[in-house]
């Protein structure tokens, strides 16, 4: 039972990451590899606020969102000037710079040692230290994210995003400031990733920089490309499949110490095969 609750919690965290990245990559057509950075900023902000100042969980999550949004605003205002592969390249650059800050700003982040002893959420005396309550909290966060994303993509704002993806020049002719739209969706998506980071940090109670590398961004990209770009249900299915694959490998008898590398091998090959055979993924409405 504990094990299933663990999988449900992981699924919810990665589904939030997938849904939010899909807004940028799938709906707006911008290939961003910075997502792991925002996931990490949210996780570090929450971890530090909870361990150092002992703030209330919700307040820490909220401050994490504010901080991540501000950083996303500055990174996004640079990235929004680019298109296509230059956008992708710039986003890889920002992801590596952020990782380098997690690793080397030792006074703040304690570098490779990471931050341990992060308390589980405690809301109005209701402690989320049990797995079932935490899984419930993660699922609620996922539900809210899903509804928010659905609201965004069905709104007129979402239609402008899709128009930018199809033909940025044409929508500019109609007087839309595409730069602002690209920036805004980037910030919204980063804020959602920050929530996923807060959940992750309080769930595993220990974080270190190695979780937030560029490979984590590639993993989240694999989730949404497998599930299908510009399809929110696809991101849920993609997260479910990619969370379950390593568990299946473990049941098939692969030793735990090579689990991480096997996971990388599987999703690397998967991206490759998808691009060759089915670039739109399982349910995708758009292909890169």
């Amino acid at each position: 039972m504990e094990y299933f609750l663990h999988l449900i919690t992981l699924f919810a965290i990665y589904a939030i990451l997938g849904l939010s990245l899909n807004l940028v990559v799938g709906y707006t057509g911008l290939l961003s590899a910075t997502h792991a950075a925002f996931y990490g900023i949210g996780a570090y902000a929450t971890a530090l606020l909870l361990t150092v100042s002992g703030l209330n969980f919700f307040f820490a999550v909220f401050l994490g969102i504010i901080l991540t949004s501000l950083i996303a605003l500055s990174i996004g205002s640079v990235l929004s000037k680019f298109r296509d592969d230059y956008y992708a390249l710039g986003s890889i650059g920002f992801c590596i710079i952020t990782f380098s800050i997690f690793l080397n700003w030792q006074d703040l982040t304690r570098g490779p040692l990471g931050i341990s002893g992060i308390p589980r959420p405690d809301i109005f005396g209701l402690s989320f230290s049990s797995s079932i309550l935490f899984a419930l909290l993660a699922l609620i966060a996922l539900g809210v994210t899903f509804l928010a994303c659905r609201g965004i993509v069905r709104s007129s704002f979402g239609r402008v995003l899709k128009a930018i993806r199809e033909d940025e020049g044409a929508i500019q002719v109609f007087g839309y400031r595409t730069h602002t739209y690209k920036l805004l969706v980037f910030v919204i998506s980063a804020a959602m990733a920050s929530v996923a980071g807060s959940l992750f940090a309080t769930y595993v109670t220990y974080i270190d920089p190695s979780t937030f590398t560029i490979l984590e961004s590639v993993f989240i990209l694999a989730i949404i490309i497998l599930g299908g770009l510009a399809n929110l249900r696809g991101s849920l299915i993609g997260a479910l499949i990619l969370i379950l694959i390593p568990e299946l490998l473990r049941f098939a008898g692969f030793p735990a110490e090579i689990a991480g590398q096997t996971r990388e091998l599987v999703y690397g090959l998967m991206l490759l095969v998808l691009m060759l055979r089915r670039p739109q993924g399982l349910l995708g409405e758009y292909k890169l």
Binding site: D85, S100, N104, A222, T262, L269, L271, L272
Partner: protein
């Protein structure tokens, strides 16, 4: 003053390594117009081939090095033949080629980690050519002189090859316009295949030289790739000479940058340079 000479010497050595990576990257980019991420992992492929043949199987070092360079080149050719060429035939976008190469990169890196563990390793049992010379106050080892010589030789021969041979003319024709090159009877697939072979072999050589100079790890490719890409963009992505200029600009900025800050910030410094160039001079410093 001595310390300045030492930084200059270090910059020249690093610039030579980046030259090997960036000139190959520029060669494949100019013929295929996509950011080939797998180019980076070829450094690890070359280095680990020498590690396996020389250190584990006990093959003579020089032979192991030659096999390592050829194997990296061959793998580059194979990836192009089985992945990138079919994708180009399907008119896949640059972004889907980029994602496919990101997948291949992740998968190959994971294979190397699975086979040889993800620890730092030395490439051979004995220290090779570590005799130190003192040149105008800067100390350099024999292997570092070989690095500089290799970069010089490959730059001169690559330039000669591109300017003076029929094959080089064909590569330049494909870079200018693949369709026109095809119409006048150039076998563009073969030309691009050979460009991939040369580029990957040079990256493999860079990885091997790094192995003899310091140490190797499976994830060495990403930072090297991003520095090579930065150098190529600074150099304008069209000429080998540009790539060389870019490589030395990157290495001087990096080495003087870490002198004023600290060694662990080297990646962040280089990617800040990349983002500055993407913002203000996306076509590089050399106008063609």
């Amino acid at each position: 003053m001595d310390v300045v000479f030492q930084i200059v010497a270090n910059s020249i050595i690093a610039g030579s390594l980046y030259t090997l990576i960036a000139s190959g990257f520029t060669l494949t980019y100019s013929t295929t117009k996509f950011f080939n991420i797998t180019h980076g992992v070829m450094t690890a492929v070359g280095a680990y081939t020498v590690f396996f043949l020389g250190k584990i199987l006990g093959m003579p070092l020089l032979l192991a090095i030659i096999v390592g360079v050829l194997f990296a080149g061959l793998l580059g050719w194979v990836l192009n033949y089985f992945i990138y060429q079919p994708l180009r035939k399907k008119n896949a976008s640059q972004l889907s080629l980029l994602v496919a190469s990101l997948g291949a990169f992740t998968a190959i890196q994971a294979c190397i980690s699975l086979a040889f563990s993800s620890q730092f390793q030395t490439i051979s049992h004995t220290a090779v050519m570590q005799k130190t010379f003192s040149i105008v106050g800067a100390s350099v080892t024999q292997i570092q002189l070989i690095i500089v010589a290799s970069a010089l030789i490959s730059f001169v021969s690559l330039t000669f090859f591109l300017k003076k041979t029929r094959f080089g003319t064909a590569i330049r024709a494909v870079s200018d316009d693949e369709e026109v090159a095809k119409v006048i009877g150039i076998n563009t697939d073969k030309v691009i295949g050979i460009a991939f072979f040369i580029a990957s072999a040079l990256a493999g050589l860079a990885g091997i030289l790094i192995g003899f100079d310091s140490a190797i790890e499976p994830t060495m490719g990403l930072a090297l790739l991003m520095k090579g890409v930065t150098a190529s963009i600074v150099g304008g992505l069209t000429s080998i000479f540009g790539a060389v200029v870019g490589s030395f600009l990157v290495s001087f900025v990096e080495n003087f940058g870490i002198f004023y800050t600290a060694g662990e910030w080297r990646d962040a410094i280089v990617f800040t340079l990349l983002i500055i160039f993407l913002m203000f001079r996306p076509n590089g410093i050399i106008r063609t």
